[in-house]
Symmetry: C4
Subunit: 261 residues, 4 copies
């Protein structure tokens, strides 16, 4: 088959234009399959459901892997139609190590791996099940939400590094001080600085589970000061990401508008 | 009666100009009645008050439904004075299915329904009581707060969809990871991924009730990282809504100013 | 004594220019006295301190009231030097009902009242003690922080009213729904809608004490949705106040700069 | 040795240009040593690790102090090459009291002090161990994160003072009111106003550990109002710091860009 056929197949597999009914239909099918897969991973962990519908989940898993495998192979076969993957061997190898292809591979490998391993113990199988969730990233082809995050993080990298540095420094100082004040034998949660950091994170992010909190007057005084000061600093990354997000989105909107005109 | 009478009646029922004393007075009466109704729904659930003043609440309910029913019928009769509901039959049917009329109907239907049903069990009656709260939406005619929210959500739809998608993805990954780490027999709160999501929401929104939290060192480490990273992302929708809200309100202020000049 | 003396006395009592040493010194004395008074109100509630230093706190209270009383009387006597309080009788009456004078009066009245009442029971005396805290507002004469808040609230009144309306509506709906779902006999915290509102506020403000939280799966699902949606809305007033605050402060800075040039 | 040698040594010790391989290598070595020191302070508080690797931590401590001491002495010897520390005696004394040199001294003094003291009890030794964490500030020479915070706080000093004043006032009023409402014999957490402030901080920062919360209906009502109102105000410093941070960072970016052109 010629490159024209391959190009057409790739266009059908990728996100389609509104006018291309076949491509649109295929997109919808794959997206629905991905979402159902994610839902299946989540729901089948409920014991009562797993007991009752376990077989159904297994069938669905086989069906999904078959579809995703065919998709992977077709893409691998057709990729030579793209200029940069032109060479029948090196081009394909180059495609295999592209981010896109790795995500596609990660979506199917967890299914095949246990067959290849002689002794796959329960722990590895559990981790492989977890990997099935990476199918979600296949959505990256269809949804701009994924690319957006990457872009925002790239553009605000400097700010984020500085604030995360500050957060870590604040966390270290807060936790160290609190450890020296609250550390008493038999006093759970403040037995070491790493342990005290759990309190630190819960306080500075204002989550405040309430499993550990200072009980001495001095510890409470320090905890109050840390909470007031720290809360301001821990709100910083949120503000930075929000600002980057807004400017990124408004930039895209403008671009789209310019294009439409 | 002619269209002029109908128009005058509608003007009286709707939000009136400052100069129209009668319309203003009627507005105040209906708004007070709505607020008292909402207060009644809330207060009568207090056992001690219900026991003592139950009859009073029943009388007030009958009175309110009578007023709202008359309002509904008068509006239905008079709506033909409006251009788009002109036809005596089709116009009225068209009016009945308008958002405004449905809200008005929902405000009275829960009262009549039990008389129409032969066997209305306790559960249905409880749900019908709940529906009484929809009377609050009748305020939409008088307060701009309701329209504002709708507008903001419409204009920032794209941003909100993207961020909510991100939130859900983050929630799924955080909960799945935590489930794999913290899931132990007899360990409440982490028995399945959906169950673990309750922890996820409580952590990422920083509510942190403290009914479930990780106890293993690895779980705490992951929980800390999720809290720090996630808190930034979960603050995004707040920022987007706030920005949309501000621009919407300042836009209205400007419009009003331009009008006044 | 003439108006010149009165004017000079008032200038000394009020916030002084840098050059006026006497006025500056008096300001510092009054501000220190106010802050010490507030500290005294707070600290003397600690049982062990009250037992040991009770007498000292009593002496300090008498001393403070004497100073504040003299200040009040001197101001009342001298106020006729100000144009709008010119009349010896009506001017002074007008001064007495000014916000400034009422704050000054509230600072001393709680001390004298028990002498005027025949039967002052413990409860009234406790409330009178509480009123001593209003001395803090006397600081309003010297610190711009107080005026700032009033200004911001005034300028952003419309936005704040709209958002508070939305918050209350959201709170009512969230609490009503949760009450219908979680209400079971013997289930504390969800016995009535007003009681459930305590859960609602704790969740929507993300305080999350953890004294009440949903336990049914449906309640948790609803609680999670409310937390995600509501948190965005409850962050709104904070954003509005922050924006108003910023513009107010930058406005003042600019004004000051223009003045200096 | 001449000033040229001294200058070269100082250049090597300080943050180096990309081209200066020796200086770059030395920077990396010192930064790694500082970070490892901080890690050691944190990790060695874990009992099980301390028991097993205690000797290793001691050797590492000795090694670090030797390096930092040599660095300190070399800097002290070479500082005369800098114009303002030119004088061999007064210049060096001036250098010793500079912020930079004090931080360097604080990094080594906690090691030597116990040898100088005759009776160093456990408490002092613990505090000296805590001081080892100040080595983190030595990073200030290499990372701009430290300077940034200082700058932001300086530029927004006025706003921060005003908001912190407001926060303290709100905290005092909230805690005083709550104390008068919730104070009952045997009711822990509300026995005095300072004690109640712990509840106040936990609520207003939305940490909400859940160790103390109002239980009377009036207390809950007040607590709800305080939470709603206060949360907005406590978010202010975060907003101010975030805004200052953003403008500071974008200012630096612009400066860098201008320089590059």
């Amino acid at each position: 088959m010629g490159n024209k056929t391959k190009e057409k197949i790739l266009r059908t597999l990728d996100k389609g234009e509104e006018s291309d009914k076949l491509s649109k239909g295929f997109d919808t099918f794959i997206m629905a399959l991905i979402l159902l897969n994610v839902a299946a991973v989540i729901i089948e962990t409920v014991e009562s459901i797993h007991v009752r519908y376990g077989d159904f989940f297994d069938y669905f898993e086989v069906f999904s892997v078959v579809v995703f495998s065919i998709e992977y192979l077709v893409r691998l076969w057709a990729c030579t139609a793209i200029e940069k993957y032109k060479h029948p061997v090196w081009g394909r190898l180059k495609y295999i190590v592209s981010v896109e292809a790795i995500i596609d591979l990660l979506a199917i490998v967890p299914f095949y791996l246990p067959f290849l391993l002689n002794h796959a113990d329960g722990r590895i199988i559990r981790i492989l099940r977890l990997l099935r969730l990476f199918r979600l990233f296949k959505l990256g082809r269809y949804s701009m939400a994924f690319g957006l995050v990457t872009n925002v993080i790239k553009k605000r990298k400097e700010e984020l590094v500085v604030t995360l540095t500050l957060l870590v420094i604040l966390l270290i100082f807060a936790s160290t001080l609190m450890y020296y004040i609250e550390n008493e034998p038999e006093r759970e949660g403040f037995q070491s600085i790493p342990e005290t950091m759990w309190w630190g994170v819960a306080t500075l992010t204002t989550v405040g589970y309430g499993d550990v909190y200072p009980i001495t007057p001095l510890g409470k005084l320090l905890g109050a000061i840390i909470a007031v000061l720290g809360v301001g600093l821990f709100a910083l990354p949120a503000g930075i990401i929000a600002a980057g997000f807004e400017s990124e989105l408004s930039g895209r909107k403008k671009k789209k508008k310019d294009k439409d005109e």
